[in-house]
């Protein structure tokens, strides 16, 4: 079938199962926006290209399917670099199509030209500059394959205008449906080595104080069920990193919650005291390990990861298994069953009682606001958690509110936590929540945002209002760049430098209304419940609820940067308790 490159691009995207595209047109990508009108793919018109990227990420977080964004050349391409880097750090499957100046004009400083593939080389899993219209079907097929297999990640496809412009003879091509990939350097391996899996099973059967240290690889590999089976069969406790919140139910008695810099005391301490860490799809991030040389000093390590470059990158494992987390976990369960299943596990009662002792002495805690104090953010999050359906999807920005959300929410379902972990991208919440709602319109979607983050990407609420994505935003307004303020308080002798944002400017309620949302403002604890109930009732419009919170509330526990996890600082009210 004869067609032009623009039509081929649309057809190729349809063939990959794309149902929604987040984007914003401009000069170089203009010809592709014409065949878009005739396509089955829904396009969501964003207000800033960064929004398109984070929406694609949010969609991928919530559905497991690759998110797709399409923007023009030059400034649009540079605007989407942050989401690309974010997706690269958090292994999010995403395909971004960028327009480019005509092939002959590349390298001439043409209008809205930039070296997109050069700029994005180090923040994508792979990228392409397509030079011929005839290459479009194969490149798109390869791009989705690379984005979604192995360790997932973002792939960028840069398309010069001439090969998609029907008025240019270079766009003429004959359609073909690619059915294979010629990628001799890309052969992702799924299965783990059987002998290594047996060795891992043996270590598990010998361990007296084992901990399952589970990361984003569990969710990426759809391995939550396998993890549940492994944990229940062995009775081993599970910590879920920021990237695996929801990968194991928080309400499960074996769940210790989030480890790391702001993790639960018990999760942090159990890892420190463990004699075996079973790391599944986790990467020993500095926010989890604290001072690496003093991290889990007594533990042997089994490390399972799809990416062999992660094995031994930070901590030398005793057993390193390269493979898909779900597949390897299932094989591990089989190997353990052959060794006797739960009967082959040693008596770990002493370890269990140490864990429950920590849980009793060091639960998450905060002091409810008194008198005319403003709200405590933890209280807001508890109320929100308890007044929304169990399978609510929660997106967050980056900072104190993100840590409180991860701490206080009960994630009992996979793919309900949408967040920027590795890159720590402020402003992620609102566009990511829109993407999640686009992917899961059946679910309630709340964005928990800080006032600093909100001001970075609030314009996408216009997208939510006009495109029909009734997300809800819980805005934790503490008038500060709160996490930076906390560091200045704790580590810079309370010398506050450029962290005060002001309490009343902007007027968030009015701003929300101007953006096409319902705006609510909450100042006292009694108002919190009713405001959330009101927001939950609104399904035809986005809602922004501004919770006016205490500025001086800090996130605890906290392992100060560069310190050992053994030096975790607990809430002031718990500091005299025996560790």
């Amino acid at each position: 079938m004869k067609m032009n490159g623009g039509q081929a691009l649309m057809k190729a995207l349809e063939n990959e199962g794309v149902d929604i595209l987040f984007g914003l047109p401009g000069g170089a990508i203009l010809p592709v926006y014409d065949p878009l009108i005739d396509s089955s793919i829904r396009h969501v018109l964003v207000r800033h290209e960064q929004g398109a990227g984070h929406m694609a990420e949010g969609y991928a977080h919530a559905t497991g399917r690759p998110g797709v964004a399409m923007v023009t050349s030059g400034p649009a391409a540079t605007n989407i670099v942050t989401p690309l880097c974010d997706a690269y750090m958090d292994s999010i499957p995403m395909v971004v199509v960028t327009g480019q100046v005509p092939y002959a004009a590349i390298g001439t400083d043409a209008f809205q030209e930039c070296d997109t593939t050069g700029i994005t080389m180090s923040v994508t899993k792979h990228n392409y500059l397509v030079t011929e219209a005839a290459d479009i079907p194969q490149v798109i097929h390869d791009a989705f394959y690379i984005a979604t297999t192995g360790r997932p990640g973002p792939v960028l496809v840069d398309i010069p205008k001439d090969i998609v412009d029907p008025n240019n003879p270079r766009s003429a091509m004959e359609w073909y449906t690619p059915d294979s990939h010629d990628l001799p350097g890309y052969l992702p391996n799924i299965a783990g080595d059987a002998e290594l899996i047996r060795q891992a099973a043996k270590l598990i059967c010998e361990a007296e104080r084992p901990v399952l240290y589970t990361g984003g690889g569990i969710l990426k590999s759809r391995g939550a069920e396998a993890l549940l089976e492994l944990a229940e069969m062995t009775g081993i406790h599970v910590v879920t990193t920021l990237m695996n919140r929801g990968g194991f139910p928080d309400d499960h008695p074996l769940c210790l919650g989030m480890p790391g810099m702001h993790g639960n005391y018990t999760a942090v301490t159990a890892m420190q005291e463990a004699d075996l860490l079973i790391a599944l799809g986790a990467r020993f991030d500095d926010r989890v390990t604290g001072k690496v040389g003093e991290f889990a000093p007594l533990a042997k390590v089994i490390h399972v990861d799809i990416d062999s470059a992660e094995l031994g990158k930070v901590r030398r494992p005793d057993v390193a298994i390269q493979g898909d987390c779900r597949v390897v976990t299932e094989e591990l369960v089989k190997a353990l069953k052959e060794m006797g299943g739960s009967d082959a596990q040693p008596d770990r009662n002493q370890w269990r009682s140490r864990i429950s002792g920590w849980q009793e002495r060091f639960p998450l805690t905060y002091e409810q606001s008194k008198g005319d104090e403003l709200l405590k953010p933890q209280y807001v999050l508890e109320q929100l958690r308890d007044s929304t359906p169990d399978d609510t999807i929660v997106a967050s920005g980056v900072g104190q509110h993100q840590m409180w959300t991860s701490q206080y929410w009960k994630f009992n379902h996979p793919y309900t936590w949408v967040n920027s972990g590795g890159l720590g991208t402020m402003g992620f919440a609102i566009p990511a929540a829109i993407g999640a709602k686009a992917g899961r319109p059946d679910r309630m979607v709340w964005a928990v945002d800080g006032d600093g983050c909100f001001q970075m990407t609030a314009q996408e609420l216009v997208t939510a209002a006009t495109e029909g994505f009734p997300i809800k935003v819980a805005l934790i307004n503490n008038a500060y760049l709160g996490m930076v303020r906390q560091w200045q308080e704790m580590f810079y002798e309370e010398r506050y430098s450029e962290v005060y944002l002001t309490r009343d400017v902007p007027d968030y309620k009015m701003w929300a209304e101007a953006l096409g949302c319902v705006g609510l403002k909450v100042e006292s604890p009694e108002e919190v419940g009713p405001a959330i109930a009101q927001a939950n009732e609104i399904n035809d419009q986005p809602v922004v609820v501004e919770f006016r919170c205490e500025a001086e509330e800090n996130v605890f526990p906290m392992v100060p940067a560069g310190m050992s996890n053994s030096d975790v600082v607990v809430d002031p009210s718990q500091r005299d308790r025996p560790r």
């Binding site: 180090s122 792979h126 001799p184 350097g185 890309y186 062999s308 990158k313």
Partner: protein, 177 residues
Amino acid sequence: MSSAPGSEVGGTTTLVVRVENKAGVLARVAGLFARRGFNIESLAVAPTDDERFSRLTIVVGVDAAPMEQVVKQLDKLVNVVDIQELNPAASVERELMMVTVRADSEIRGQILDLVRIFQATVLNVGYDEIMVSLTGSPSRVDDFEDLLRPYGIVEVQRTGKVALPKLVKSTPDPLAP
């Protein structure tokens, strides 16, 4: 990827990287070194017998240990097909040098002596300069360059080394599976 133990001598590592012969691949490979502040000491690139692939011989002035992560990251590049870390003791290395040396009529004879001893080749002769070339192991090329230096090197161009693993000398074990 195969990696030979002890492939690092004097704080340098030699990698032989087979890549797809496509635009931009060299930039991807070089970027992984640049990002970590690792300087590439020499680099030789040419297509292989299979025109779909090119072979890069990269010498990096970094010990094997910090290189481990770079090698793993290199292996992740979609266009990188395979990587060998070459142990100098277990490989044959060659480099080509072209050099122009000051050589007025009085000292030309001394330089030609060196050319004979090293079995180098005279490429071009000028009024008071001479251009010669030498192919050999990198250390032999170093020696030749050192000996020419006192005469006054006008210009020197070295290719960077290329290398292949040494061949098996022993007969295969007939009882091996």
